[in-house]
Amino acid sequence: GSQEQHGGGSGAPRAGGTARFALPPSATPNWIMPISIPGYGASYNGVIRSTMFVPLYNYDGNSGSVTVDDPGSAADPPRYSADGKTVTITLKPLTWSTGDPVTSRDVEFWLNLVRAGKDNWGKYSEGLMPDNIKAFHAVDEHTFTLTLDKAYNPDWFTANQLSLVVPMPQRAWDRTSASGPIGDHDRDPAGAKQVFDFLVGQAKSLGTYATNPLWKVVNGPFTLSGFTATGEVTLTKNPKYTGPDAAKLDTVKFLTFTSSSAEYNVLRAGGVDYGYVPTSNLGQRAKLEAQGYRVEPWNGWSITYSPYNFNNPRLGKVFAQLYVRQALQHAVDQDAITSVIWRGSARVGYGPVPQDNDTKYLSQRQKTNPYPFDLDAARKLLSGHGWKPGPDGVLACSAPRLCGEGIAAGTRLSLTMLTESGSDETDGTMQELRSEFSRIGVEMKVNAQPLNTVLANGTACEPSDASCSWQLSYFGTQGSWYFPANPSGEQLFATGAGTNFGSYSDKHADELMSATNLSASDQPMFDYSAYLAEQLPVLWLPNPPYQVSAIDTALHGISQDPLAGLAPQRWFWTR
């Protein structure tokens, strides 16, 4: 077929134009309101929304470490009081497309709605936003203060809490029905709930996104001009935008695809300006480059791992032994997996802090890999603790005294990995693990299931639960944990935390994690990185890229933000 021309151009920036961006398969955008309800938290909803509704604080990792993106934020940096319990924030002089300025009232509006509808807010965690805001006080039109329930680490609070806040156009949205009057309904809890419900109802009606007057009131560089049933989104430059971050392009189109190979096909035909290459097609990099694309992995602000189920009745006590986890970690050949299975696009990961970028959070201990690939070391660890190979070559505990507490004689090192099916990379990684494990006498069975099943089954449980039969689980390529700006691990590794699926529990780790949230210094984060890299609460595995992008060489202004932000307002053509 005929291919569209890519690349080339004079190199000089050109105003206007259209860029076509490929969304990941099945990642259809389906939410527009700045407060998302559960199940609508797909990352692209946020990306598209933030081009229309500027968040209070936007973070990105473009500078090499994760910091506030000032032009993309609606407020100047916050000022924390000496006791750390009060934050004062000043808004930038942005205006809504109706002409009204963005004011403190718009922030209060957001806060009131979130308070009223927090149970139905996708990002709510008990004790955190909005529970940790004791009072809102508007100082003037552009300045307000928040009173916190206790002193927090300012870095963490801004990055992980204040970044959730998005000013919303109170003077356009504060109504309880489409025809109802605008008022201060949000100021009493019942009214706020009504407004919340009304807006959620409107947001559920995808077909009206491009036409509903509500969503036309924006303060960001773009406004939504098209939204089709399949989720194809068209953004057009907002001519009324008054901030420092005006769009350079006229139009940005987000295209949807049924599968990654469908996308790749269109990409090869030139129908996409900014797309991605499935790992299996990385062998054709040269062809793409010849076609005028640059191919770049887009690394995520994330970690990838496989949790041990410490509550598993059969193997929980075995996993509880650090030497077992060490032996298993020694048997993971991360270099081979990244270079062969991921074809060089993934990055090794040895601990709880994202390792792609050299950030201030990353400890030396984690970075230098405490447990490099070393089968002999692994074997030694196990044989040294009383594990002897049985007739089938699988290790069994022959000296319970040495094996460790709660491990009966004869316990076999045979474990089952519950893993996502349908991904070649995951299949390959699992086979490689199984193969290396078998070389140290550990039998690993792979139970591949649809991602949903893995997610639903591999959850935290009590040893007595029937659902506690899983031993190790891997969410695969979709399951990497993406951090907000601050990579604190309290949701993952704290005792009893919501996403602590393996029921890992370590006093010292808990202390370190709460310190990262509360202390103003970076040291606890550093210590946390080193400690968990050594303690192996999970099996650390290579971290796949967010995607491997193929970008038209004439499309500039793109920085592949590890936080998965896009900032399309900064893109521009040189052709």
């Binding site: 299996s280 081979a336 062969v340 299975i341 070649d424 299949d427 070389r439 792979v446 139970n447 299931q449």
Partner: protein, 276 residues
């Protein structure tokens, strides 16, 4: 002439049988002559093109493709044969009971078959594969359990026609029970039809195994079958890795063809009206 001599008189059937024997030898005895490690990955020698120590190259995890073809063939053949036999057995009994009993039981049994026909087998397999971990036995059972409908229909038709035979009437008049009639008279007399259909069922089951693996529900690695090899290989179509695609593909085509030739020969030898 006996069934066997009539079968031997058909050249295509003989060719099919010989081909099958060769493939079975290749899959089951091949590994003794050409030993390869099919349980440990070797990432260092992944995706090698044919040549050197690997006549058919290696795959994306470093498995030797020729050796893998043998191991995979074993899985495909075993599952195919077992599933074909299970489907035939269930179908034969089901159809015979429905056809012989008649009346409301027949209606109910055949409505169940209609329902089964209306639900795509792949859907049932998709659901089933998430409920149980696939293994050779489980897959054979599953595939057998979704493909018994055709033999059941066939068997019912056969039974209905047999039921009108005088010897069945004579024995019924004598007061012989249903079980006796179905198992002693009807099923043995439908054996030709059943045997012919069984061969076709086996061929279809081997294809179905391939489809199931193509959809990612096959036996868990490092075990594999031709369909799984093929579907993994498809990923590398555009990389020109033909040795990952052609060998398993051709193997499937050859075996299924051979069985069909054999089945056709059998059908003629038994002189039954088959489905083709």
């Amino acid at each position: 002439m006996t069934v066997l001599s009539r079968l031997l008189a058909r050249r295509t059937a003989v060719a099919g049988a010989i081909l099958l024997v060769l493939v079975v030898l290749f899959c089951f005895l091949g590994p003794l002559l050409y030993g390869t490690d099919q349980s440990h990955t070797d990432l260092a020698s992944a995706r090698l093109s044919p040549g050197g120590g690997h006549p058919l190259g290696t795959d994306e995890l470093g498995y030797d493709v020729l050796g893998r073809l043998m191991v995979a063939g074993r899985t495909s053949l075993i599952i195919g044969v077992l599933a074909g036999l299970i489907a035939t057995a269930i179908g034969a009994v089901w159809g015979a009971v429905a056809g012989y009993t008649g009346g409301w039981l027949d209606t109910v049994l055949m409505r169940v078959v209609d329902t089964g026909v209306a639900i795509p087998a792949l859907f049932l397999l998709l659901v089933a594969a998430t409920l149980v971990t696939p293994s050779v036995g489980v897959l054979a059972l599953l595939i057998g359990c979704v493909s018994w409908l055709v033999p059941a229909r066939l068997m019912r038709a056969e039974t209905v026609s047999l039921r009108e035979r005088d010897y069945i009437r004579a024995i019924t008049v004598l007061g012989a029970g249903r079980t006796r009639v179905v198992f002693r008279h009807i099923i043995p007399n439908a054996i030709g039809t059943v045997a012919v259909n069984a061969t076709f069922q086996i061929a279809d089951a081997i294809l179905l195994v391939a489809y199931v693996s193509f959809l990612g529900l096959g036996v868990p690695a490092p075990a594999t079958d031709w369909g799984a090899m093929l579907s993994k290989g498809i990923t590398y179509t555009f990389d020109g890795a033909w040795w990952l695609i052609l060998p398993p593909g051709v193997a499937i085509v050859l075996v299924v063809c051979a069985i069909n030739f054999l089945g056709d020969g059998l059908r003629d030898a038994f002189a039954v009206k088959g489905r083709r």
